[in-house]
Protein backbone atom coordinates (compact mmCIF):
# COMPACT_ATOMS: atom_id res chain seq x y z
CA UNK A 1 0.00 0.00 0.00
CA UNK A 2 1.36 3.45 -0.84
CA UNK A 3 0.72 5.85 1.98
CA UNK A 4 2.80 8.98 2.37
CA UNK A 5 4.01 8.99 5.89
CA UNK A 6 5.11 11.23 8.75
CA UNK A 7 8.86 11.89 8.71
CA UNK A 8 10.52 13.11 11.91
CA UNK A 9 14.01 14.62 11.73
CA UNK A 10 16.26 13.41 14.50
CA UNK A 11 18.05 16.71 15.04
CA UNK A 12 18.39 19.45 17.63
CA UNK A 13 15.17 21.17 16.50
CA UNK A 14 13.06 18.41 17.96
CA UNK A 15 12.84 17.55 21.66
CA UNK A 16 11.79 14.24 23.22
CA UNK A 17 10.85 13.44 26.81
CA UNK A 18 12.44 10.82 29.05
CA UNK A 19 9.37 8.62 28.56
CA UNK A 20 9.61 8.81 24.74
CA UNK A 21 13.33 8.11 24.81
CA UNK A 22 12.80 5.01 26.96
CA UNK A 23 10.14 3.73 24.55
CA UNK A 24 12.14 4.48 21.40
CA UNK A 25 15.51 3.21 22.63
CA UNK A 26 14.53 0.05 24.49
CA UNK A 27 16.69 1.09 27.48
CA UNK A 28 15.31 0.80 31.01
CA UNK A 29 14.68 4.03 32.91
CA UNK A 30 17.43 3.31 35.46
CA UNK A 31 19.95 2.58 32.67
CA UNK A 32 19.03 5.75 30.81
CA UNK A 33 19.28 7.88 33.95
CA UNK A 34 22.66 6.38 34.81
CA UNK A 35 23.90 7.23 31.31
CA UNK A 36 22.56 10.79 31.71
CA UNK A 37 24.22 11.17 35.12
CA UNK A 38 27.53 9.87 33.76
CA UNK A 39 27.35 12.42 30.93
CA UNK A 40 27.30 9.78 28.17
CA UNK A 41 23.81 10.88 27.06
CA UNK A 42 23.37 14.67 26.99
CA UNK A 43 20.14 16.01 28.51
CA UNK A 44 18.52 19.33 29.43
CA UNK A 45 16.72 19.89 32.72
CA UNK A 46 17.36 18.35 36.12
CA UNK A 47 16.38 15.24 38.10
CA UNK A 48 13.72 17.28 39.94
CA UNK A 49 12.17 19.17 37.04
CA UNK A 50 12.52 16.29 34.59
CA UNK A 51 14.80 15.77 31.64
CA UNK A 52 14.32 16.52 27.97
CA UNK A 53 16.54 15.45 25.09
CA UNK A 54 17.42 16.56 21.59
CA UNK A 55 15.93 14.08 19.10
CA UNK A 56 19.52 13.52 17.93
CA UNK A 57 20.03 11.55 21.17
CA UNK A 58 17.54 8.86 20.02
CA UNK A 59 20.28 7.45 17.78
CA UNK A 60 22.78 7.40 20.67
CA UNK A 61 20.30 5.72 23.03
CA UNK A 62 19.39 3.09 20.44
CA UNK A 63 23.10 2.38 19.93
CA UNK A 64 23.43 1.98 23.71
CA UNK A 65 20.59 -0.55 23.70
CA UNK A 66 22.20 -2.56 20.88
CA UNK A 67 25.58 -2.56 22.64
CA UNK A 68 23.92 -3.64 25.89
CA UNK A 69 22.17 -6.56 24.20
CA UNK A 70 24.93 -7.64 21.82
CA UNK A 71 27.91 -7.30 24.20
CA UNK A 72 26.06 -7.79 27.51
CA UNK A 73 27.50 -4.48 28.77
CA UNK A 74 26.46 -2.84 32.03
CA UNK A 75 25.92 0.94 32.20
CA UNK A 76 29.56 1.64 33.16
CA UNK A 77 30.74 -0.24 30.07
CA UNK A 78 28.07 1.48 27.97
CA UNK A 79 29.13 4.88 29.26
CA UNK A 80 32.75 4.31 28.21
CA UNK A 81 31.72 2.85 24.83
CA UNK A 82 29.34 5.75 24.07
CA UNK A 83 31.96 8.36 24.95
CA UNK A 84 34.53 6.71 22.71
CA UNK A 85 32.04 6.34 19.85
CA UNK A 86 31.15 10.04 20.23
CA UNK A 87 34.85 10.95 20.05
CA UNK A 88 35.27 8.79 16.92
CA UNK A 89 32.20 10.45 15.37
CA UNK A 90 33.61 13.93 16.14
CA UNK A 91 37.00 13.02 14.62
CA UNK A 92 35.36 11.50 11.53
CA UNK A 93 33.36 14.69 11.07
CA UNK A 94 36.52 16.76 11.34
CA UNK A 95 38.34 14.56 8.81
CA UNK A 96 35.36 14.83 6.44
CA UNK A 97 35.44 18.63 6.77
CA UNK A 98 39.18 18.81 6.14
CA UNK A 99 38.82 16.52 3.13
CA UNK A 100 36.02 18.70 1.76
CA UNK A 101 38.32 21.73 2.02
CA UNK A 102 41.12 20.04 0.07
CA UNK A 103 41.12 20.61 -3.68
CA UNK A 104 40.50 17.50 -5.78
Amino acid sequence: MNIETEVLWLDEHRVVSLRELIELSGLHETELLELVHSGAIPASGSPGAGYSFSARVITVARTACRLRDDFELDTRGLSVALRLLERVRGLEEEIARLRAELPR
Binding site: M1, N2, I3, E4, T5, E6, V7, L8, W9, L10, D11, H13, L24, A55, R56, I58, T59, R62, T63, R66, L67, D70, F71, A81, L85, E93, A96, R97, R99, A100, E101, P103, R104
Partner: protein
Protein backbone atom coordinates in the same frame (compact mmCIF):
# COMPACT_ATOMS: atom_id res chain seq x y z
CA UNK B 1 13.61 -22.44 2.90
CA UNK B 2 17.38 -22.28 2.67
CA UNK B 3 19.46 -23.98 5.36
CA UNK B 4 22.03 -21.91 7.31
CA UNK B 5 24.92 -23.54 9.17
CA UNK B 6 24.93 -21.80 12.56
CA UNK B 7 27.94 -23.73 13.84
CA UNK B 8 30.01 -22.69 10.81
CA UNK B 9 28.84 -19.07 11.24
CA UNK B 10 30.36 -19.08 14.74
CA UNK B 11 33.34 -21.21 13.70
CA UNK B 12 32.68 -23.93 16.30
CA UNK B 13 32.19 -27.73 16.17
CA UNK B 14 28.65 -29.10 16.31
CA UNK B 15 29.43 -30.55 19.73
CA UNK B 16 30.73 -27.24 21.13
CA UNK B 17 29.85 -26.41 24.74
CA UNK B 18 27.65 -23.44 25.65
CA UNK B 19 30.78 -21.68 26.92
CA UNK B 20 32.65 -22.24 23.65
CA UNK B 21 29.67 -20.88 21.72
CA UNK B 22 29.53 -17.77 23.91
CA UNK B 23 33.28 -17.14 23.54
CA UNK B 24 33.11 -17.55 19.75
CA UNK B 25 30.18 -15.12 19.58
CA UNK B 26 31.94 -12.50 21.73
CA UNK B 27 35.10 -12.68 19.62
CA UNK B 28 33.17 -12.29 16.34
CA UNK B 29 30.84 -9.60 17.73
CA UNK B 30 33.84 -7.45 18.67
CA UNK B 31 35.18 -7.86 15.14
CA UNK B 32 31.98 -7.32 13.14
CA UNK B 33 29.48 -5.35 15.26
CA UNK B 34 28.27 -2.53 12.95
CA UNK B 35 28.44 0.06 15.76
CA UNK B 36 32.16 -0.55 16.32
CA UNK B 37 33.50 -2.14 13.10
CA UNK B 38 34.48 -0.38 9.90
CA UNK B 39 35.29 -3.60 8.03
CA UNK B 40 33.51 -3.91 4.69
CA UNK B 41 30.58 -6.33 4.91
CA UNK B 42 30.72 -6.22 8.73
CA UNK B 43 27.00 -5.65 9.15
CA UNK B 44 25.97 -8.66 7.04
CA UNK B 45 28.55 -10.85 8.79
CA UNK B 46 27.37 -9.70 12.23
CA UNK B 47 23.77 -10.55 11.31
CA UNK B 48 24.83 -14.13 10.54
CA UNK B 49 26.79 -14.38 13.77
CA UNK B 50 24.01 -12.86 15.92
CA UNK B 51 21.34 -15.05 14.31
CA UNK B 52 23.44 -18.16 14.95
CA UNK B 53 24.13 -17.16 18.55
CA UNK B 54 20.49 -16.31 19.32
CA UNK B 55 19.56 -19.88 18.38
CA UNK B 56 22.53 -21.84 19.73
CA UNK B 57 22.72 -20.09 23.13
CA UNK B 58 19.22 -21.32 23.97
CA UNK B 59 19.18 -25.07 24.78
CA UNK B 60 15.62 -25.56 23.45
CA UNK B 61 16.26 -23.72 20.19
CA UNK B 62 19.60 -25.49 19.76
CA UNK B 63 17.88 -28.89 20.13
CA UNK B 64 15.28 -27.84 17.54
CA UNK B 65 18.04 -26.66 15.21
CA UNK B 66 20.07 -29.87 15.67
CA UNK B 67 16.95 -31.91 14.89
CA UNK B 68 16.98 -30.42 11.38
CA UNK B 69 20.20 -32.34 10.74
CA UNK B 70 23.35 -31.12 9.07
CA UNK B 71 23.08 -29.91 5.46
CA UNK B 72 25.15 -27.85 3.08
CA UNK B 73 24.51 -24.11 3.66
CA UNK B 74 21.97 -22.68 1.22
CA UNK B 75 20.35 -26.08 0.50
CA UNK B 76 16.59 -25.87 -0.02
CA UNK B 77 14.77 -28.00 2.52
CA UNK B 78 11.56 -28.26 4.52
CA UNK B 79 11.45 -29.14 8.25
CA UNK B 80 9.98 -32.63 8.95
CA UNK B 81 6.16 -32.62 9.38
CA UNK B 82 6.16 -33.04 13.17
CA UNK B 83 9.26 -30.94 13.81
CA UNK B 84 7.53 -27.73 14.84
CA UNK B 85 5.11 -29.50 17.19
CA UNK B 86 7.85 -31.56 18.83
CA UNK B 87 9.98 -28.51 19.53
CA UNK B 88 7.25 -26.16 20.71
CA UNK B 89 7.30 -24.10 17.55
CA UNK B 90 4.00 -24.01 15.73
CA UNK B 91 0.65 -23.55 17.41
CA UNK B 92 -1.11 -25.82 14.95
CA UNK B 93 -0.48 -29.16 13.28
CA UNK B 94 -1.42 -27.52 9.99
CA UNK B 95 1.38 -24.98 10.23
CA UNK B 96 2.92 -24.16 6.87
CA UNK B 97 6.57 -23.25 6.26
CA UNK B 98 5.73 -21.60 2.95
CA UNK B 99 7.45 -18.19 2.66
CA UNK B 100 9.16 -18.56 6.03
CA UNK B 101 12.76 -17.32 6.02
CA UNK B 102 15.20 -19.59 7.87
CA UNK B 103 16.49 -16.57 9.79
CA UNK B 104 12.96 -15.97 11.17
CA UNK B 105 12.25 -19.60 12.04
CA UNK B 106 13.78 -19.54 15.51
CA UNK B 107 13.07 -15.88 16.35
CA UNK B 108 9.44 -16.82 16.95
CA UNK B 109 10.34 -19.53 19.46
CA UNK B 110 9.85 -18.17 22.95
CA UNK B 111 8.34 -15.04 21.43
CA UNK B 112 4.91 -14.98 19.86
CA UNK B 113 4.47 -18.72 20.27
CA UNK B 114 6.48 -19.33 23.41
CA UNK B 115 7.07 -17.45 26.65
CA UNK B 116 5.15 -14.40 25.47
CA UNK B 117 2.04 -16.45 24.62
CA UNK B 118 -1.07 -14.32 24.99
CA UNK B 119 0.55 -10.91 25.54
CA UNK B 120 1.02 -8.11 23.00
CA UNK B 121 4.32 -8.06 21.08
CA UNK B 122 5.65 -4.83 19.56
CA UNK B 123 6.63 -4.82 15.89
CA UNK B 124 10.33 -4.67 15.05
CA UNK B 125 12.16 -1.43 14.33
CA UNK B 126 14.19 -1.29 11.13
CA UNK B 127 17.08 0.89 10.06
CA UNK B 128 17.62 1.42 6.36
CA UNK B 129 20.51 3.26 4.67
CA UNK B 130 19.38 5.70 1.97
CA UNK B 131 21.61 7.50 -0.55
CA UNK B 132 20.50 10.93 -1.76
CA UNK B 133 21.97 13.09 -4.48
CA UNK B 134 23.03 16.57 -3.41
CA UNK B 135 20.36 18.01 -5.70
CA UNK B 136 17.63 15.93 -3.96
CA UNK B 137 18.94 16.96 -0.53
CA UNK B 138 18.83 20.62 -1.68
CA UNK B 139 15.36 20.57 -3.24
CA UNK B 140 13.76 17.83 -1.14
CA UNK B 141 12.47 14.62 -2.64
CA UNK B 142 9.94 11.83 -2.23
CA UNK B 143 11.40 8.40 -1.56
CA UNK B 144 9.64 5.19 -2.43
CA UNK B 145 11.21 2.37 -0.45
CA UNK B 146 10.47 -1.29 -1.16
CA UNK B 147 11.20 -3.28 1.98
CA UNK B 148 10.73 -6.86 3.10
CA UNK B 149 10.02 -7.05 6.82
CA UNK B 150 9.49 -10.07 9.07
CA UNK B 151 6.00 -9.87 10.60
CA UNK B 152 4.01 -12.25 12.79
CA UNK B 153 1.24 -14.12 11.02
CA UNK B 154 -1.94 -15.28 12.80
CA UNK B 155 -0.17 -18.38 14.18
CA UNK B 156 2.70 -16.29 15.55
CA UNK B 157 5.33 -17.32 12.98
CA UNK B 158 7.44 -14.57 11.45
CA UNK B 159 7.09 -14.26 7.68
CA UNK B 160 8.72 -11.86 5.26
CA UNK B 161 6.12 -9.32 4.12
CA UNK B 162 6.75 -6.82 1.33
CA UNK B 163 6.04 -3.16 2.07
CA UNK B 164 6.30 0.01 0.05
CA UNK B 165 6.86 3.13 2.11
CA UNK B 166 6.61 6.56 0.53
CA UNK B 167 8.26 9.36 2.43
CA UNK B 168 8.63 13.04 1.62
CA UNK B 169 12.11 14.26 2.59
CA UNK B 170 12.05 18.03 3.14
CA UNK B 171 14.98 20.10 1.79
CA UNK B 172 18.13 20.22 3.90
CA UNK B 173 19.17 16.62 4.68
CA UNK B 174 22.90 16.35 5.36
CA UNK B 175 25.28 13.42 5.32
CA UNK B 176 24.59 11.27 8.41
CA UNK B 177 21.09 12.71 8.93
CA UNK B 178 18.73 10.28 10.67
CA UNK B 179 14.99 10.30 10.10
CA UNK B 180 12.27 8.41 11.95
CA UNK B 181 9.08 7.18 10.33
CA UNK B 182 6.81 6.26 13.25
CA UNK B 183 4.82 3.05 12.87
CA UNK B 184 6.40 2.14 9.53
CA UNK B 185 8.47 -0.76 10.85
CA UNK B 186 7.15 -4.28 11.45
CA UNK B 187 3.50 -4.64 12.51
CA UNK B 188 2.81 -5.29 16.19
CA UNK B 189 1.21 -8.62 17.20
CA UNK B 190 -1.85 -9.05 19.43
CA UNK B 191 -2.22 -5.32 20.00
CA UNK B 192 1.51 -4.50 20.35
CA UNK B 193 2.56 -1.19 18.84
CA UNK B 194 3.93 -1.10 15.30
CA UNK B 195 7.69 -0.73 14.99
CA UNK B 196 9.40 2.35 13.53
CA UNK B 197 11.45 2.74 10.40
CA UNK B 198 14.70 4.71 10.69
CA UNK B 199 16.40 6.15 7.61
CA UNK B 200 20.13 6.76 7.71
CA UNK B 201 20.90 9.33 5.01
CA UNK B 202 24.19 9.39 3.11
CA UNK B 203 24.85 11.98 0.39
CA UNK B 204 26.31 10.71 -2.87
CA UNK B 205 29.54 12.31 -3.97
CA UNK B 206 29.00 15.11 -6.47
CA UNK B 207 30.85 16.06 -9.64
CA UNK B 208 31.53 19.61 -8.42
CA UNK B 209 30.68 20.06 -4.75
CA UNK B 210 31.99 18.47 -1.55
CA UNK B 211 29.56 18.79 1.35
CA UNK B 212 30.32 19.06 5.03
CA UNK B 213 27.27 19.65 7.19
CA UNK B 214 25.28 22.33 5.35
CA UNK B 215 28.36 23.93 3.75
CA UNK B 216 29.53 23.11 0.22
CA UNK B 217 33.06 23.40 -1.12
CA UNK B 218 33.77 24.03 -4.79
CA UNK B 219 37.16 24.16 -6.52
CA UNK B 220 37.44 27.44 -8.42
CA UNK B 221 40.11 27.25 -11.14
CA UNK B 222 41.53 30.66 -12.07
CA UNK B 223 43.93 31.69 -14.85
CA UNK B 224 47.09 33.41 -13.48
CA UNK B 225 45.98 36.80 -14.83
CA UNK B 226 42.49 36.41 -13.25
CA UNK B 227 44.13 35.71 -9.89
CA UNK B 228 46.57 38.62 -10.27
CA UNK B 229 44.24 41.24 -11.74
CA UNK B 230 40.95 40.16 -10.19
CA UNK B 231 37.91 39.08 -12.18
CA UNK B 232 34.17 38.54 -12.08
CA UNK B 233 33.47 34.86 -12.73
CA UNK B 234 30.29 32.83 -13.01
CA UNK B 235 29.91 30.19 -10.30
CA UNK B 236 27.48 27.26 -10.53
CA UNK B 237 25.31 26.90 -7.39
CA UNK B 238 22.54 24.38 -6.66
CA UNK B 239 19.99 27.16 -7.32
CA UNK B 240 21.62 28.36 -10.56
CA UNK B 241 24.68 30.39 -11.61
CA UNK B 242 25.76 33.49 -9.68
CA UNK B 243 28.52 36.06 -10.28
CA UNK B 244 31.47 36.10 -7.91
CA UNK B 245 34.04 38.91 -7.71
CA UNK B 246 37.52 37.47 -7.34
CA UNK B 247 39.71 40.14 -5.67
CA UNK B 248 42.99 41.14 -7.30
CA UNK B 249 45.94 39.25 -5.80
CA UNK B 250 43.98 36.07 -4.97
CA UNK B 251 46.40 33.30 -4.00
CA UNK B 252 45.76 29.56 -4.45
CA UNK B 253 43.73 27.94 -1.64
CA UNK B 254 42.08 31.27 -0.74
CA UNK B 255 38.47 30.64 0.26
CA UNK B 256 35.79 32.86 -1.23
CA UNK B 257 32.52 32.47 0.67
CA UNK B 258 29.07 32.82 -0.85
CA UNK B 259 26.81 33.11 2.21
CA UNK B 260 23.56 31.13 2.18
CA UNK B 261 24.33 29.27 -1.06
CA UNK B 262 24.87 25.89 0.63
CA UNK B 263 22.26 23.36 1.75
CA UNK B 264 19.11 24.73 3.42
CA UNK B 265 18.79 24.20 7.18
CA UNK B 266 15.57 22.71 8.55
CA UNK B 267 15.38 25.46 11.19
CA UNK B 268 15.75 28.25 8.57
CA UNK B 269 18.71 29.77 6.74
CA UNK B 270 21.27 27.81 4.77
CA UNK B 271 24.92 26.84 4.81
CA UNK B 272 27.53 28.60 2.68
CA UNK B 273 29.10 27.78 -0.65
CA UNK B 274 32.86 28.14 -0.34
CA UNK B 275 34.85 28.49 -3.55
CA UNK B 276 38.49 27.45 -3.10
CA UNK B 277 40.80 29.27 -5.54
CA UNK B 278 43.17 27.20 -7.66
CA UNK B 279 45.65 28.81 -10.05
CA UNK B 280 45.82 26.73 -13.21
CA UNK B 281 47.91 27.08 -16.36
CA UNK B 282 47.31 25.61 -19.78
CA UNK B 283 49.38 22.48 -20.56
CA UNK B 284 50.47 24.00 -23.87
CA UNK B 285 50.84 27.66 -24.82
CA UNK B 286 51.31 29.46 -28.12
CA UNK B 287 54.31 31.60 -29.14
CA UNK B 288 52.54 34.89 -28.37
CA UNK B 289 51.58 33.70 -24.84
CA UNK B 290 55.11 32.39 -24.25
CA UNK B 291 56.52 35.77 -25.26
CA UNK B 292 54.20 37.62 -22.87
CA UNK B 293 55.11 35.27 -19.99
CA UNK B 294 58.81 35.84 -20.68
CA UNK B 295 58.27 39.59 -20.73
CA UNK B 296 56.40 39.29 -17.40
CA UNK B 297 59.15 37.15 -15.87
CA UNK B 298 61.78 39.77 -16.80
CA UNK B 299 59.68 42.72 -15.64
CA UNK B 300 58.58 41.24 -12.29
CA UNK B 301 60.62 41.39 -9.10
CA UNK B 302 58.32 38.88 -7.40
CA UNK B 303 60.12 35.99 -5.64
CA UNK B 304 57.60 33.41 -4.43
CA UNK B 305 60.35 31.47 -2.58
CA UNK B 306 62.05 34.25 -0.72
CA UNK B 307 61.29 32.61 2.65
CA UNK B 308 63.37 29.53 1.61
CA UNK B 309 66.51 31.64 1.55
CA UNK B 310 65.70 33.47 4.80
CA UNK B 311 65.42 30.17 6.71
CA UNK B 312 68.10 28.18 4.91
CA UNK B 313 70.93 30.77 5.13
Amino acid sequence: MKYADYYAALGVERGASADEIKKAYRRLAQKYHPDVSKEPGAEARFKEVAEAYQTLKDAGKRAAYDALGSRPPGEEFRPPPDWARQHGGAGSDHFSFEDVDFSDLFSSFGGARGAGRGGPLPGQDFEVPVELSLEDAFRGTTLSLSLSMPEYDASGQLRRTPHTVKARIAPGAVDGQRLRLPGKGGKGFRGGRDGDLYLDIALKSHRLYRSTGHDLFLDLPLAPWEAALGAVVEIPTLSGPVSLRVPAGTAAARKLRLGGRGLPKPGGGAGDLIAVAQIVVPAQIGDRERGLYQELAEASGFDPRRHFAAEGA
